[in-house]
């Protein structure tokens, strides 16, 4: 059987790299049309190649494809090669990355048309695609880490795209530095894995790890430590507590970047790594519990902040953090399939939400504050309807995508031992909050009174290059969940079944008949939808029926409101507890003592010493001829004395 694309799997990441290089090196003076043709065809071809690769993968019977293209690092028994692999999990990720990525490229072509640095933007965007594809296609942790760091770089470049704006360049640095903390953990985890198993290749490593005994709750063995270290990295990349702080700030970047990198793809890399390492995680009860609790806590925590934000992109940013928490909750309760499923549906509807928000911002001429919007639904119809679909999807209304994916996570959380039920309750509560803040966004933006000055803002619908991707993503947000839908009617969950070769059989509730399990699922689904409905109705009542109420409530609950509005003062706390002491230490010790005194002191000291020596010895070169004459005489005498020293000594001895 011939599998042309699978044999040259590297073509998928290479195409965007070529696009990035072409635009980056030569695009400066090209017209926009050529720049976006290059960028779009690079990603488009990459998407087609990915489609073909996945088709071939199916055709050859869905067996793991592992290709070694060349050796990269070989040292003793250690080998890290440029090895790519294709399995079910990679197939999902590659299609999401290239598919959503391509749609966002199309959108960007319209959105960025009036911005400076067009070629730079597309070069970075293609570079991001390259690294992200390396990340998901890599067949070992080292190569994965290359992609991991690379997407961090691309993210940094794109957050700081408007680098003349202080807040944007600051946000870029913040993202990079916070991620660095996680990456440190990730590297330590890799070292520990290599030390224990002697390989970092996925297939070999997992095969070696499989027979090891499981570590129960509270045992801090190799697996627990390695998993927690890897999870630290995932926390940084996927913006989980306590390292989530960079993601809301990352909204300084252009909106398509927020959609692609900070919602749909890059931030899910952490979830991907946890899912990819699921064999390690399932060996450690402690690690799973930590993942579940961190995910659940983040989901709730971010959702509460999202309740009161007024910047349309900030709401979506906190929503992203919250939804990523859901994915980790899914992984933590052992339902890796559900976590990845939510990753996929989230990529659709969150990309759509961001792109639609971008379209709103575009229509409002750059306004991002929802308090200055309102009543836009009639003026930008396509944007409104697509955004409404995405909102329904994220809130979890059937039959949209978010319903099935969120439901399967909550079900998995409920099906674990009773000790896990608090996680389910918090997850459900978060679903309610999600519905509330998302409909708050919709009502504030599109309904109610118009709160902007019509003479200043000329509201206009975006061009079709921007609306097209919105419509496609809206369709995906509707049908994306149907892969898992049949399970709702007692059938097979196709998505989980598809991923089963990677993740193994799913955790079924034990001691329960299929019928009981099924009726339980329906009850839980009804509860979840009810929660979402309550959120919707509260938002409807507060923001449409009683527009004065929210500020009244805010006033009566002043402390809570200000705490939420200021994001629990986490940034301030980090600033006071970490940044300030670190700055003080750096300024007073590292800079003023070690750098200035020790390092500069040594260098300058040597120079001063040379000058001082020169100052003294320079006096011998007086320019006075007679002093030279004296030196000649002294020198001659010295030579004489040295030459005749034995004779002089003998003479002196003889004299005695």
């Amino acid at each position: 059987m011939s599998t042309p694309i699978l044999d040259i799997l590297w073509i998928i990441p290479l195409l965007p790299l070529l696009g990035a290089a072409t635009n980056g090196f030569f695009g400066k003076n090209w017209p926009n049309k050529i720049v976006n043709t290059v960028a779009l065809s690079a990603t488009g071809l990459s998407f087609l190649a990915a489609l073909e690769a996945v088709r071939e993968f199916f055709e050859q019977g869905q067996k793991l494809v592992h290709k070694e293209f060349f050796d990269w690092i070989v040292a003793g028994s250690f080998r890290a090669g440029f090895d790519l692999q294709m399995d079910q999990l990679t197939a999902v990720m590659v299609l999401v990355v290239t598919g959503v990525g391509f749609l966002i490229h199309i959108y960007s072509a319209g959105y960025m048309a009036h911005e400076g640095g067009y070629y730079r933007f597309f070069s970075y965007l293609n570079l991001f695609m390259f690294f992200m594809l390396i990340l998901v296609l890599a067949a070992n942790y080292v190569l994965l880490f290359v992609g991991w760091e690379g997407v961090g770089l691309a993210s940094y470049l794109l957050i700081g795209f408007y680098f003349l704006k202080k807040s944007a360049s600051g946000a870029g640095k913040k993202a990079f530095i916070v991620n660095r903390i996680g990456d440190f953990g990730f590297m330590l985890g890799m070292f520990l894995l290599f030390k224990t198993f002697g390989t970092l290749d996925f297939a070999q490593l997992f095969a070696k790890a499989e027979p090891w005994s499981h570590e129960s709750w509270g045992v801090f063995g190799t697996f627990t430590v390695a998993c927690l270290l890897l999870f630290t990295g995932a926390c940084g990349k996927s913006a989980q507590l306590p390292l989530y702080v960079w993601l809301p700030d990352a909204m300084e970047g252009p909106t398509p970047v927020s959609a692609l990198i900070h919602a749909a793809t890059m931030v899910t890399a952490g979830v991907y790594v946890v899912a990819r390492s699921h064999i390690l995680f399932t060996h450690s009860e402690t690690a799973l519990v930590v993942v579940a609790i961190v995910g659940c806590a983040t989901a709730f925590f971010a959702a509460t902040i999202g309740l009161v934000q007024t910047d349309i992109k900030k709401v979506l940013a906190y929503s992203t953090v919250s939804q990523l928490g859901y994915m980790f909750l899914g992984c933590g309760v052992g339902a890796f399939g559900a976590g990845i499923f939510h990753l996929m549906t989230h990529a659709f509807f969150k990309a759509l939400l961001f792109l639609a928000a971008g379209s709103v911002i575009h229509a409002m001429g750059g306004e991002q504050d929802m308090r200055h919007m309102g009543g836009l639904s009639k003026k930008i119809k396509v944007t409104y309807w697509t955004m409404l679909i995405a909102t329904l999807a994220i809130a979890g209304f059937p039959p949209l995508a978010g319903f099935f994916s969120k439901d399967s996570i909550l079900l998995a959380a409920f099906n674990r031992e009773p000790g896990w039920h608090p996680l389910y309750v918090v997850g459900l509560l978060t679903a309610l909050l999600t519905a509330f803040y998302m409909f708050r966004l919709i009502f504030l933006t599109f309904h109610g009174k118009q709160r902007y000055d019509e003479h200043h803002v000329h509201v206009h619908e975006s061009p079709w290059s921007m609306l097209g991707p919105l419509v496609i993503l809206a369709v995906l947000s509707i049908i994306g969940g149907w892969l898992a839908a049949p399970s709702f009617w007692g059938g097979e969950d196709h998505f989980t079944a598809f991923l089963a070769p990677v993740f193994g059989a799913t955790h079924e509730a034990e001691g329960m008949t299929e019928a009981a399990a099924h009726s339980l699922e329906i009850i839980l689904a009804i509860v979840a939808v009810a929660a979402a409905l309550i959120g919707l109705l509260v938002a409807f009542w507060l923001y449409l029926k009683q527009p004065g109420k929210p500020s009244e409530i805010a006033k009566s609950l002043r402390p809570i409101y200000t705490t939420l509005y200021n994001k629990y003062y986490v940034d301030e706390a980090y600033g006071a507890l970490i940044v300030k002491p670190l700055l003080a230490l750096s300024t007073n010790v590292l800079w003023k003592v070690i750098d200035v005194e020790a390092i500069d002191g040594t260098v300058n000291g040597i120079a001063h010493g040379a000058t001082a020596t020169g100052d003294i010895t320079r006096r011998t070169q007086s320019g006075n001829t007679r002093s030279y004459a004296v030196w000649v005489v002294i020198g001659a005498l010295a030579v004489l004395i040295i030459v005749f020293w034995p004779a002089i000594k003998a003479l002196a001895g003889g004299a005695q």
């Binding site: 320079r618 070169q621 007086s622 320019g623 006075n624 001829t625 007679r626 004459a629 004296v630 005489v633």
Partner: protein, 100 residues
């Protein structure tokens, strides 16, 4: 026959006078002359040794010294004339342009 030590003592006295004059005199021509004095003190020592040892090496060496001294005198006097022309003085203290 005059003992060799006498020649050597005379040579040392002449050389010492030359060296002292070389250091303390200010006139360039005087300094030049003191150098000649030292050279000739050495020549005397050479000749004395040659006579004492009965070999001609020392005398050959003296001839060389005289030739070199002649050449040196030609160059040195040329320099002295130039200094005189440029500074209207032969005071060695005034020749100090190399000083920083």
């Amino acid at each position: 026959m005059v003992p060799t030590q006498y020649y050597l003592i005379l040579s040392a006295i002449l050389f010492g006078l030359g060296a002292v004059a070389f250091v303390f005199k200010r006139n360039i021509i005087t300094i030049f002359m003191s150098i000649e004095l030292m050279l000739n003190a050495v020549n005397l020592a050479f000749v004395a040794f040659s006579q004492a040892s009965g070999k001609v090496d020392g005398q050959v060496f003296v001839l060389f010294v005289i030739v070199v001294a002649a050449a040196e005198a030609a160059v040195g006097l040329g320099i002295i004339i130039l200094i005189q022309r440029n500074r209207q003085s032969l005071n060695i203290e005034k020749v100090n342009l190399l000083k920083l």
